[in-house]
């Protein structure tokens, strides 16, 4: 537990030091969403049909893009090595890393989503479902993403490779998340979808940190 807090507070402090960077995933989210009315069509009906999927796709891409730096800087300055030489277990450290990622991307995204939903003409009764689905779904994205990030940390060209590894694993989350919002726009039940998202989250909280820790060991020992 102590290492969990140590890691969490260090990484949050680092994030706070570069306050500007905290805004980046958010701004990216906003911009990707802004590309659609520009690139596709500005018609409200069309956009409102598009909204559930596009909001989720943009959230996914924003989470994806910030993965690259999750372990990279620790790897490069050698602090990752030192983490793995800690006498404490690596599980809490891995969990803390994924949590920081979520706190700095998924959470603010979910909180900002209602605003953007309005801009994309998503029916307002679907907004609570949007927020809840993002709140349950994005932590899974962070956890899975952290695995891929840990796997690729030792490699030079991480950026695009991570996307490649991660997108197939993100797709189930995307499908259930977007379907939930889609159903909500049509006043259909959403509990089943949210429950599936929840169980994915539970599963990844339990298993992902092990995979993260193991991947980190491999990446460092090469």
């Amino acid at each position: 537990m102590k290492v969990f807090w140590a890691e969490l507070s260090r990484d949050l402090l680092l994030a706070y030091r570069r306050k500007g960077d905290l805004l980046n995933p958010l701004l990216f989210f906003v911009m990707v969403l802004a590309l659609f009315p520009l690139g596709v069509s500005p018609a409200p009906d069309f956009l409102s049909q598009l909204a559930p999927g596009v909001l989720w796709v943009a959230a996914l891409l924003a989470a994806l893009l910030s993965l690259d730096n999750l372990f990279k800087s620790d790897f490069e300055d050698g602090t990752l090595e030192q983490l793995l030489l800690s006498s404490e277990s690596t599980y809490p450290i891995a969990l803390a890393k994924a949590l920081v990622h979520w706190l700095t991307t998924g959470l603010p995204l979910a909180l900002l989503a209602p605003l953007l939903a309005v801009m994309l003409f998503l029916p307002s009764h679907a907004i609570p479902t949007l927020v809840v689905s993002l709140l349950i779904g994005t932590p899974t994205l962070s956890l899975i993403g952290a695995i891929a990030s840990a796997l690729t940390v030792g490699l030079k060209k991480g950026g695009v490779l991570i996307s490649l590894l991660v997108i197939p694993l993100y797709i189930p989350v995307l499908i259930f998340g977007a379907s939930a919002v889609q159903n909500a726009t049509q006043h259909l039940p959403v509990q089943a979808y949210l429950a599936i998202l929840g169980s994915m989250l539970a599963l990844s909280i339990v298993l992902a940190p092990f995979a993260i820790a193991a991947s980190l060991r491999v990446s460092v020992s090469s």
């Binding site: 402090l13 300055d77 030192q82 030489l85």
Partner: protein
């Protein structure tokens, strides 16, 4: 009296089809300072990383206090301080914050000693400077400050593995560090280090030349 800390038997390691060492066996007792020497590329860093458990592509056995290091990793790491080629200092944190984090992930380090450790490495007054704004040598000094944070009660039967610790350190800094190493070994700690410079201290020091073990 001197406990057998490390027992290395029949170590074999090759990289890129070149055998770095073969049938390498040696032991390290508490209080001993072992200086690895050898040409560039002779395998010093590789050996040190193997001993830490950071590199696994080897054959043979590495025992710490009688246990394979991979089996009883946590207790081994509790006795180990490793300083590698990397600076191991987060550029975005201040010197103090860096050391505080170290103390949390390595419980054997003493948080109380941060200030005195910084002073010992000549960085008094730099407590709140972000490490990005330090010179090459100063960054390495922050990393070395960890050695000064270990309480002397934890010296006995613990191990320092130092890969070129004197890199970028000025003359006076090197002398102080060597004294610290000597003090540590006198109190029962064991040290393995590499350096291309000659050591000024000679008490307890033995050498292992890796040039003789490979092909």
């Amino acid at each position: 009296m001197a406990a057998l800390l490390l027992n290395i038997t029949d170590l074999y390691c090759e990289r890129d089809d070149r055998v770095l060492f073969e049938d390498l066996s040696f032991t390290l007792n508490s209080g001993q300072i072992l200086q690895l020497v050898g040409k560039n590329g002779s395998g010093k860093t590789s050996l040190l990383r193997i001993l830490c458990g950071l590199y696994h592509a080897y054959e043979g056995s590495v025992k710490f206090l009688g246990h394979e290091i991979d089996e009883d990793r946590d207790s081994f790491h509790r006795s180990l301080t490793y300083i590698g080629h990397h600076v191991s200092v987060k550029a975005g944190l201040t010197t103090q914050e860096n050391l505080r984090w170290y103390a949390k992930i390595h419980p054997q380090l003493d948080v109380q000693r941060i200030e005195s450790a910084l002073a010992s490495v000549g960085l008094a007054g730099y407590e709140d400077v972000v490490c990005q704004n330090l010179s090459a040598g100063q960054k390495r000094r922050v990393n070395l400050a960890r050695l000064f944070m270990l309480p002397s009660t934890a010296f006995a039967n613990s191990l320092w593995i130092l890969d070129e610790p004197f890199t970028a350190i000025d003359v006076q800094g090197v002398a102080e560090l060597e004294n610290k190493i000597l003090e540590y070994s006198r109190a029962g700690g064991a040290v393995i280090l590499t350096t291309h410079q000659a050591l000024q201290i000679s008490e307890n020091v033995s050498q292992l030349n890796l040039d003789n073990w490979g092909t």
